[in-house]
Subunit: 230 residues, 2 copies
């Protein structure tokens, strides 16, 4: 029996995962084996901080958790990648437990940040239930479980690595996103307009675009910057 802690901010998704994990549509044939052992959702949390708290509480009670199923995007509170890192590093008095990330998007930066945080796997929410169950079993057994789409992205990234923006370039991108002109940008950063243009050219090249608008959306998509607050 694999004991799972579910972390997702949407009650609907928690209910769906619980149903999927606990009620296999096709019961295992033949005698029970390790490969088809049952899965039980024994705890749930709606954000990263609550997940850490719940994990610690369960472990203190001697009710060990075998696996954490974690969403990455969570409205407010600690995000999934941060929570994953803390769990894997045993912060806050928890014993490290495998974390399987299960989320909606497969952006490069999401995948990278999750895996760097120590996730044992990365599945997408549009997966069929049997896929998700086998990923849970694999992750609980200490193996790595990647959705095919995710694996493909990783391979693609190895082939042509994403050019890294310098700190200055990111700084410029952030101001760019507020709608400043080159001149305003120059004044804000105490540099000349010429320098701003040079930076922009570098940014365009690294992002594979050819104008400021595309640079902003691309940067937002790749989570290099965020849309500035209102």
């Amino acid at each position: 029996m694999i004991r799972v802690l579910l972390v997702d901010d949407h009650p609907v998704v928690r209910a769906g995962l619980k149903a999927m994990l606990e009620d296999p549509a096709i019961p295992s044939e033949g005698p029970a084996s390790d490969d088809t052992q049952g899965i039980r959702v024994v705890a749930e949390a709606s954000d990263g901080a609550a997940a850490l708290e719940e994990l610690r509480r369960r472990q203190t009670l001697g009710e060990d958790i075998d696996l954490v199923l974690m969403d990455l995007q969570m409205g407010d509170g600690m995000d999934g990648a941060t929570a994953t890192r803390k769990i894997r590093q045993g912060e806050g008095g928890v014993r490290p437990v495998p974390v399987l990330v299960l989320t909606t998007y497969d952006s490069d930066s999401d995948i990278l940040s999750a895996l760097e945080a120590g996730a044992s796997g990365y599945m997408l929410k549009d997966a069929e239930s049997e896929r998700i169950r086998s990923a849970v079993r694999a992750a609980a057994a200490g193996e790595t479980a990647l959705a095919p789409e995710v694996a493909a992205r990783l391979v693609g990234r190895l082939r042509n690595p994403v050019p890294q923006l310098s700190a200055r370039e990111v700084e410029i991108l952030e101001l760019l996103a507020t709608g400043l002109s080159n001149r305003a940008l120059a004044r804000a950063l105490f540099i000349s307009e010429a320098t701003v243009k040079t930076h922009l050219v570098h940014i365009y090249a690294k992002l594979g675009v050819d104008n400021r608008t595309a640079a902003i959306t691309t940067a937002v998509q790749q989570k290099i910057i965020r849309v500035p607050d209102a």
Copy 2:
């Protein structure tokens, strides 16, 4: 008994909604009343086209559907708003049925397009299960069910003379956010570059900005548009 057709491209979400709708955590007290009548998910579909097909099929068989629960964003195939419009207008040989939209985002354009398409309600996926069930009951009874956040947006929009952009202007903004130049914009919309510029001037005026970059961030902040998907 309310008979529901579930439309969502994610198996996880379908399973979650089914579990939530059919297994009320708190069984109704006292004798059964109309208000607490049961809900049964009798059919599912993973995109808009399949939903129409399924609805028609069930109605032909005499197995009427009382309500369609519809997601707006669906990976490929017909999107939710279009499917909602077709169902409400009885296209494709279906009898109109109330449609409750249940989605993740609450952007103005999403809400408006769903309601204009004839949706009976608009709920967010992060809602608690009892909220969703009561929205289903209300919508099936012909009432309008809006999530509080959605209702708040609507009244806020009535108070604030939110500079109302025309449909065409929003369309332009959305393409603008992908980084297209005026010329590319013109080609994409089969209009002249002059017209694009005219629209942009109007957009800038309504949003209180003076260039395209600021227009995009402002529009995103005010949830007039969303950052385009990667």
